[in-house]
Chain length 734, copies 2
């Protein structure tokens, strides 16, 4: 199908017709009318027209604006704070500072009857361990007055020696970030016997790799609006999970969960950096309590570069052994990473691909996390995976060269069917890696491209081409309990869907509406979604890790099935029939085998009487001792200017086995977004700390920190969906 | 107990201890720990501190203000509208007018894909039938600009003859409000044979009474804020029932119910006048659609006097027969009332007390409703009842004088136990009338007061005292299905209560929290309520008619019991026991008879895993062929200045059998409020229409329309609660 033709389908919200492969078995889901279509988002109009209200758009009467005073040094101790200047600034209504360092505000003073306050001792720590650590905060009538207030606070710092590189941090003479060693954690893993494995190998290679620190820079800044109604706190936060914010804030402020309402309806990007509340969340709540007014506290762009998270830098050494026939015999991995100045899982999943991507009997890994005087690590679109992939896939390519085998061929030799890195090596419900590589290579024209670019490299001229590929598995992705959802059917047959999960921009709301529409046989336009609100919507874990749709879709389907069950039971009264003999048929419920005995849904007496039918749905468990992971393969062609070193990506193809594709439009866009972010990490994005002189970040803005733009990514991006029936990964249940 | 002592209990939220009567059976509910207490409202702090956000408080960024052009004549025809002047006014963004009368805005033009618009032909009717009928509307950046815009619209009216009195309206030569007769409706009722009844009587009296038109003047004005998110309309309305607003607006605008979200969290008074959307609701929605911005449209105080409702004037003739022993033999009633210029149930329930308050074998009634050029009637704190009571209770007193019997004694002779006015004369589950009169008379000191005031009247001086009493039954009050509620228990044991019903100022939220707290054994402070939102809360009928607590309390109890059932089932896994053997014990669930085998609620594994437990509750049906009605008796002592005619109410006592008193504090306040409103109707409140010359209302403000103030009601008001066990009126169920 031509691009324009496909676009036309997208615009109309129709399913892109599949071209059936000759002789192929029909897929079990080929009968669905709506699920699987390429549909525009249910909130597309709001998003593109500017009427969607993001947390950063909220404005309330009488609202104040918060701002945070941040330590300008990578490592310092606050000796004295004088907040009197801030109180002189026009419009300043509240100041928060720690009295033990000289501020005159006692806190936590805010929580009184009927709750006991927990001490939030580390909100403002007089020992500042990275540039941007919070020192004090101000609430004022305008954002500029709040910033003026912050600037008017006088702080006397004792500047301390710093360390800003994880490799230096592990040296014995390095400055200490905390009192003890800078080594946070060290973990080891092993299976088989790598020495034996290297002994069996025909070729053994060892190489060291480093990936830079990549920063989360979502379009919407981090922050919230906080307001108190009596003893109840409401927070409108830009977040991936309202329940995660609720539980942490309730714990910190000593409030019952029911008294902390967190609302997050839209989100302008997060990528893992908005899974938890920030200090800004608690600060906004305390300032709102202090001033008795709503307080809006969104960070400035510069602050988000410093404090909201990063994919930590990683130093990785891999030793790999292989037989001439392409069989991997052993992998040994050593990784050093850093979560920044506080425990933040700097090395999380850093060794995972070594453990699990390819079949290999002998594996040993060691990962070390070190403190530095730097901002915190956060989950960032598959923690650890891109870093490890960078190292592993390069050495695999090197091994291919060493044994004279096509890199694709080598990977085919080592396709796993069980998750080797996990206890008990449980099988995958499906392993799509081989099909991803096969279909991807075919669509990319791998063989032809290899030959063409190799031939081209022998020709004259300074522009040379090259092709490469890589495989991947994602550690999670199958979703799972807990999740609760409610589907409420109104007496006119229209539906309200009540879901706690956030739609972090991936199209979750649209897919949930499609599932309900499919199951009920109604138009998605009849469905309205309420979501992301701990006060009024149901429990969900945070959205992230590619697990939202597989967690929530079976849940909403279960709720819809419960609505249908109740409708059948109600219609049975009208039809004087056994519910078991009734069939739900979209607009009607009919007696099986007696099509004339039927009733319109909207005519059911009990429905009209009750006003609504409410179905509660739960996410059922996943199959025991099995693993549901998605696989993928990427192929890329680049052009290199061998005079200047400039690299241009000519084309990129991603082939992904991600389970069933619910909405082809949002699926493809997720793949394209992932490719773009990978290009950023590989080519242009890196945090620069002045490790020797000042320890400060020198590229804390979008001018100096280079995100890929439309000009940096190829126009020729292709997404291939590998859909494999998986009867074990569609659980609904109680 | 002394007043101060009782107040002290109220402030502390403790139950007022009952003084047990010697030999009295303990009441079945005497064991409840929380229900029955006098507790301050759960939202008391918000209400008194000014932080409660009422619909009229909502402010949104970019919001416009709406205003309505109203016909200044009681009867006129719009010949031409010129809106060009309005468009010249600074800040005017939208104008709505009917093109057929010369405005240049076509409507309904607003509803497009994917919905077909219904024609809302009567939003602006060129035939204006009362002073205040809507003619056009404007949206502007400020309220004053909107009013300027309205004033700049030029309307050419043909002024028509009018009729402003229901008695004149029924005359053949009266001006016609509609094309046909002004008689809207006439209804008759009869049982027995009144002629026979009057024949059996020793005394027959006939008298004619009139009650004036009383206006709804709640503190919060009528209105809403409307906003569109794409194809979904959200309305924040000051309303008694969000679902009623939703269904009417959806019907008028041709939208699915799921696409109309109505939110009404607080309400500053309604008394029956906010049971339905106003034209202002639809106008605000259309102006918001036209301008693409939120529109706030709250009426001015003067407009509410003209258009939002009234208790219609009633003309009532009663003929009554009685035997010397006090047995009523016959009642004949003729009533004429008016719903205003449009069908609005002017005579609703006007004859009810004649049919049902006293035992009487022979009854005949005839009620007639007439159109006049006046504002619409609306339900107003027991439609028809106070009017009829005014007539009936006066003639009963006259009968007592005629046969020389104490008025209390006469009423005792005619206490009903079945609802005679209803088909099949079904029995009441309880009839508290006798006990109300007995206890009331005793507490009031009826006999002594009669003697004392009679003696006083023979003394010199111009200040004389008198006492009187009256009985009542309310036609409804037992509540009933449908109602759905959800109780959500968080993993820390705190609770969210999700209810669609509005708390119209009567304390519904507080009582629901008390029921949940009672049933779960937790503090009411652990409960947060979300209510009054068609998007996120469950189905409820409108709050009114004294049926909210009896409808919703069993529903929320049912939801709570379902939560407990699930907790037992989850705890059974931890305790390795049969759920049937487990007992819920507030903080713990324990194995019956094995107190040591127990688990804390917050330790239940499945609860921690699932995050929340959700219980859905429904209101069960009432007993068949029985009637649940509340009864009451009021006693009053007045002082009359026989020189000036001035009347001062010295003291007032209300004794009410209203079922179980859930919260003694809010119960008493409802009684005091009712007494105050009765004093207004009886003594100071009446709409004045200039019936002869202009047909216009002459007292359309709080200066000229006299609401009773604190100085007009007695400091000595006493509320007595008659609680009678009623095992049939506490249904929970599916």
């Amino acid at each position: 199908m031509k691009e324009e033709e496909r676009d036309n389908y997208y615009v109309q919200g129709l399913a892109v017709p599949e071209t059936p492969e000759p002789g192929a078995e029909p897929k079990p889901w080929s009968k669905t009318a709506i699920v699987g279509q390429a549909r525009p988002r249910v909130d597309a109009y709001e998003r593109v027209s500017g009427t969607a209200i993001y947390p950063s758009d909220y404005t309330f009467a009488n609202m104040l604006y918060g701002a945070i005073l941040r330590c300008p040094h990578p490592h310092a101790r606050v000796k004295k704070i004088d907040i009197s200047g801030a109180r002189q600034i026009d419009g300043v209504h509240g100041v928060l500072a720690d009295t033990t360092t000289g501020g005159d505000i006692r806190w936590p003073y805010v929580m009184q009857w009927p709750y006991e306050a927990e001490k939030i001792s580390k909100l403002f720590d007089s020992h500042c361990r990275f540039e941007g650590d919070a020192v004090a905060a101000v609430a004022a009538a305008t954002p500029c007055q709040a910033m003026d207030g912050v600037r008017a606070i006088k702080v006397d710092y004792e500047v301390l020696p710093f360390v800003a590189d994880e490799r230096q941090a592990l040296k014995p003479d390095a400055a200490k970030v905390h009192d003890d060693s800078n080594q946070v954690n060290k973990q080891t893993y092993s299976r088989g016997n790598v020495e034996q494995g290297f002994g069996e190998a025909d070729v053994v290679l060892e190489k060291t790799f480093r990936t830079a620190c990549e920063l989360h820079t979502p379009l919407e800044l981090h922050g919230c609006v906080a307001n108190w109604d009596g003893d109840r706190l409401t927070i409108w936060e830009s977040t991936q999970g309202v329940y995660a914010i609720q539980s942490k804030v309730a714990e910190l402020l000593g409030l019952p969960l029911s008294k902390v309402r967190v609302i997050g309806h839209y989100l302008g990007g997060a990528f893992g950096s908005k899974l938890q509340p920030g200090k800004y969340t608690v600060i906004a709540a305390l300032l709102a309590r202090q001033t008795g007014r709503p307080v809006k506290l969104f960070l400035a762009r510069e602050e988000t570069f410093l404090v909201v998270g990063n994919r930590p830098p990683a130093n990785m050494t891999i030793k790999a052994g292989i037989k001439k026939d392409g069989t991997l015999t052993a992998l040994e991995f050593t990784g050093i990473a850093t979560g920044g100045a506080y425990p933040a899982g700097g090395m999380t999943l850093l060794d995972w691909l070594v453990r699990d991507l390819y079949t290999c009997p002998h594996v040993k890994t060691e990962t070390t996390d070190a403190y530095i005087n730097g901002g915190p690590a956060r989950p960032f679109r598959a923690p650890g995976h891109p870093q490890c992939s960078w190292a592993l896939e390069q050495i695999i390519d090197d091994l291919a060269v060493a044994i004279g085998m096509d890199p694709v061929e080598l990977r085919f030799k080592n396709i796993p069917t069980v998750s080797q890195g996990r206890e008990g090596t449980p099988p995958y419900t499906t392993t799509g890696l081989e099909e991803c590589i096969t279909k991807g290579a075919e669509a990319f024209g791998w063989q032809q491209a290899r030959q063409r670019t190799a031939a081209g490299r022998k020709e004259k001229g300074h522009l040379k081409r090259g092709v490469g590929m890589g495989s991947c598995v994602w550690f999670a992705g199958g979703g799972g309990p807990p999740s609760t959802m409610i589907v409420k059917l109104f007496s006119d047959g229209s539906v309200n869907l009540n879901m706690g999960a956030s739609d972090i921009g991936t199209g979750t709301k649209t897919i949930m509406a499609m599932v309900v529409a499919e199951e009920l046989g109604i138009k998605p336009e009849m469905i309205q979604i309420e979501h992301g609100d701990t006060g009024t919507t149901q429990y969900a874990t945070s959205s992230g890790g590619s697990k939202t749709v597989p967690t929530e879709a079976p849940t909403v389907r279960s709720a819809t099935i419960e609505v249908k069950r109740q409708l059948l039971s109600m219609a049975a009264v009208d039809l004087a029939a056994d519910p078991a003999d009734l069939r739900y048929n979209g607009q009607y419920i009919e007696v099986a085998g007696a099509g004339s005995r039927k009733i319109k849904i909207t005519d059911i007496t009990k429905l009209k009487k009750r006003g609504v039918v409410v179905g509660v749905g739960y996410r059922g468990p996943n199959p025991e001792n099995k693993v549901i992971n998605p696989f993928g393969a990427q192929f890329c062609e680049v052009e290199v200017n061998i005079k200047t070193g400039e690299v241009r990506i000519v084309r990129f193809l991603g082939a992904h086995e991600s389970g069933r594709v619910m909405n082809r439009l949002t699926f493809d866009n997720q793949v394209f977004g992932g490719i773009t972010m990978g290009i950023g990490l590989g080519m242009t994005e890196f945090r620069v700390l002045d490790t020797n002189r000042t320890g400060k970040m020198v590229n804390r803005n979008w001018h100096d920190y280079k995100l890929p733009t439309a000009l940096d990514v190829p126009a020729d991006m292709i997404s291939i969906a590998i859909e494999m029936p998986d009867s074990e990964a569609n659980n609904t249940g109680a």
